[in-house]
């Protein structure tokens, strides 16, 4: 237990910069939305005390808004307001409205009628009655509403990171997707503490006597504004360009951590869901994003992969891996599979992925077109000298490769082919292979290194330097441990990558990550 706390503490210390930024963003989001909610809710609450027939309708609408699940509400906001702070603030303020309107209404309605009448009888006009009598007397109830709204907002603000608005949710959801308990706690504990702290502070204000409340209410707008401004402090530096990274990328050594430690890259970064990231880049809401180097969306959205000149992203070179007994059983297999080696580079693979993912062409057609273009395609010989079993993982690129291998084997040898495509993740395909269910499938060196061999961090750092060292290492280890052979690499590298819009990269003269850093550091 002690050891566990230690590591959480270490994590928080190590990430203290980010923790501070996220905390400030969190407080900022909470209070910007609270401030606006008060600006809207208070007058609206007052208004419905004057027009009682509207009170049911207004409170009803505010009540319905509050029952919309937070994620759904944030979802509704994206088409209306895009991503980032705006939709998050609007969603938060909608949640904060009900307690503020309701308590303003109840507070003012609850003011002793005799006291109100006395105020009128003394010759106060309606504004004087409102500001000198009704609001001060309703203040404890109104403050209770603001207190409720604050606590709700601190909680809901954790979800703001879904739509790239920052806050402690970055750690919480990053931690969940990286299965990193420390990271989850580093976000969840401060968020809980903030809720408790604000609740406590507001309870103090609420219990002040009338004299002091007067003072407190006067400084409140200033305090709210100052707290709101916290949101903007983090974004005030390095804001020439904005980067959007997935939570997973944020937390990985071969991701943002490496960008900071190896490149010293200082860029205003927001955390964003993979699904909206590419679109946001295309719509110029983001300038730099994290992604996969052969993702079809690169082409769909006209993005450029920045060169990783310091090699922080380990190479994920694709190559077919084959059981050694299958190589013995099918002597012609190795040379047939190697026909593809070196033929498909990153941009070719991206193009092929684009055709399946975006143009919705079948993998078979894409594979055949490619082989024909390379003059490698031969019709099926209808061989019957044994069946080669080909596997693949469950995404487009693997289907295409499996189709190409099928066609090559059928065209160049007398073996027949059975395909077992769409095998879940790495673990499932690889288990199928070690259990002699398949003979061959395309794998990536990085995956082999990290997911299958589970290499120690020092080893990873050592090997990361070059494509060949990783390849040689996995080849050697697979042979030793599993009697599986890595054939020649196909040529492309499906690794993490930083991307920018082609046009912008060209305009800024950025080709590599180092170029990007130089641009950001220049004044």
């Amino acid at each position: 237990m002690n050891e566990h706390q230690q590591t959480l503490w270490e994590f928080m210390q190590q990430q203290s910069d980010k923790l501070l930024v996220q905390t400030m963003q969190h407080i900022g989001l909470t209070f910007i939305s609270l401030f606006i909610a008060v600006l809207i809710g208070l007058p609206l609450g007052i208004y419905i005390t004057r027009k009682k027939q509207l009170s049911g309708l207004v409170l009803g609408i505010a009540g319905v808004l509050q029952t919309i699940p937070s994620i759904a509400l944030l979802g509704f906001m994206i088409p209306l307001l895009g991503i980032g702070a705006k939709p998050a603030i609007v969603a938060l303020l909608l949640y904060a409205l009900l307690p503020i309107i309701r308590n303003t209404y109840t507070g003012i309605t609850g003011v002793d009628a005799t006291v109100k009448e006395a105020a009128v009888a003394m010759g106060m006009n309606k504004w004087q009655v409102l500001f000198k009598v009704e609001l001060p007397l309703a203040m404890p109830v109104i403050l209770a509403g603001i207190r409720t709204a604050t606590v709700i907002n601190v909680g809901v603000a954790t979800l703001a990171s879904y739509i790239a608005a920052g806050g402690l949710g970055e750690f919480i959801f990053g931690g969940i997707s990286l299965n990193n308990t420390n990271m989850i706690l580093a976000g969840a504990i401060p968020a809980a503490l903030l809720a408790v702290l604000f609740d406590f502070l507001l309870s103090l204000v609420q219990n002040l006597n009338f004299k002091k409340v007067k003072g407190a209410v006067k400084v409140a707008p200033v305090v709210l504004l100052v707290l709101s401004c916290l949101y903007f402090i983090p974004s005030a530096y390095g804001s020439k360009l904005t980067a959007g990274f997935t939570p997973e990328f944020m937390g990985r050594q071969d991701g943002n951590l490496g960008l900071i430690s190896k490149y010293g890259l200082k860029i205003h970064t927001i955390v964003i869901n993979d699904a909206v990231m590419y679109k946001a880049a295309q719509e110029k809401e983001l300038d730099v994003i994290s992604g996969y180097s052969t993702d079809g969306r690169l082409k769909a959205y006209d993005l450029l992969v920045l060169g990783d000149d310091k090699k922080i992203f380990p190479p994920y070179y694709a190559a077919p891996i084959v059981r050694e007994d299958a190589l013995r059983k099918f002597p012609e297999l190795e040379q047939t599979l190697n026909k593809l080696s070196g033929l498909i580079n990153d941009s070719v693979m991206t193009e092929l992925n684009y055709r399946t993912d975006y143009l919705h062409q079948t993998p078979e057609r894409v594979a055949k077109d490619f082989l024909e273009a390379k003059k490698l395609y031969k019709p099926d010989r209808g061989g019957n000298e044994g069946v080669v079993r080909i596997g693949s993982k469950i995404f487009g690129e693997q289907y295409i490769l499996a189709s190409m291998y099928t066609m090559l084997i059928k065209g160049y040898t007398n073996y027949n082919v059975a395909t077992k495509t769409g095998l879940g993740g790495t673990k499932i395909v690889f288990d199928a292979m070690t259990n002699d269910q398949i003979d061959v499938y395309p794998e990536y060196t990085g995956t082999g290194l990290l997911a299958i061999l589970q290499a120690a961090p020092q080893t990873v750092t050592r090997l990361q330097v070059s494509k060949d060292s990783t390849y040689n290492y996995v080849q050697r280890e697979f042979k030793k441990r599993y009697k599986i052979k890595w054939l020649k690499p196909i040529g492309f590298n499906n690794a993490y990558a930083l991307m920018m819009r082609q046009a912008q990269a060209k305009q800024l003269g950025v080709k590599t990550i180092s170029d990007l850093k130089r641009y950001l550091d220049s004044k």
Partner: protein
Amino acid sequence: MIKVERLVKTFGTTKAVNDISFEVNAGETLALLGTSGCGKTTTLKMLNRLIEPDSGTISINGKNVMEQEPEALRRSIGYVLQNNGLFPHYTVAENIAIVPNLLKWDKAKTDKRIKELLDKLHLFKDYFNAYPGELSGGQQQRIGLARALIADPPVLLMDEPFGALDNVTRTKIHHEFKELDELKRKTIIIVTHDVQEAFELADRIALMDKGRIVQIGTPAELLFYPANDFVKDFLKEQHLQLELKTIKLTDIWQYLPDTGKKINTSQVPASAGIWDALDSYKFYPRENINILNQQSKEVRSVTFSQLMSAYSHYKNHQPHE
């Protein structure tokens, strides 16, 4: 000073005030007397336009109130609420200073005036910064009175100002009220359902029932010349006491014997009621009290039985009863 003509106010189907007319002269105190729900408060609130009448006219100091700006009108009329209506979030001093602040008096003037009033109302300066919640009911009512008096309005409307008090405190406040020079030059309408209070404080009484004025006149007129059975019944329970208060020693002066024995030195003024004379007997054998007739400068010394027989002579010579 105040002239009300044919005032009507209906709430839904309730005729709260049904065709009321009366006049109050400058410096006079009129009591609106009647049982709960007879329309006293409604009548009073129409005078400073807290309630707008359905029909009828009200003029104060010759000016139609409907033609004045309500806020300005209200600032010029002192108003004491039925439940005092002090602001719980204001200190005593702030409560009293409400109207001066609305009138934008300077602070020194306001402070001086508050001190003066609190002095007259026997409230200590210690209470200056207390909140109403920290004061007793009687103190709160005095603060309510001070608040109404602060800007020295010529007209004062009071809605059961002493309603929530115990008898002892109320009697004490009644005395203070009568003594307060501040009030002597004001035109006052005081609402009450307490017959004693009306008789004690008012120059004239308007007895109301179901939104109408049944009889309006001096206490003696109501007592000795009741307009109908309602008035008679209304006063019946406390009739003797009211009589003893209403009939002054001057009224029975002619029936008082002059014994010439003026032993003790304290004197009851003849302008006082019989009740006060009775009050000053200590009740030991053959006790005399001295009564001073201010007009003739004559002093008569009478025993209890002599006083009582003078009262009975007086009664026998009255036309009614």
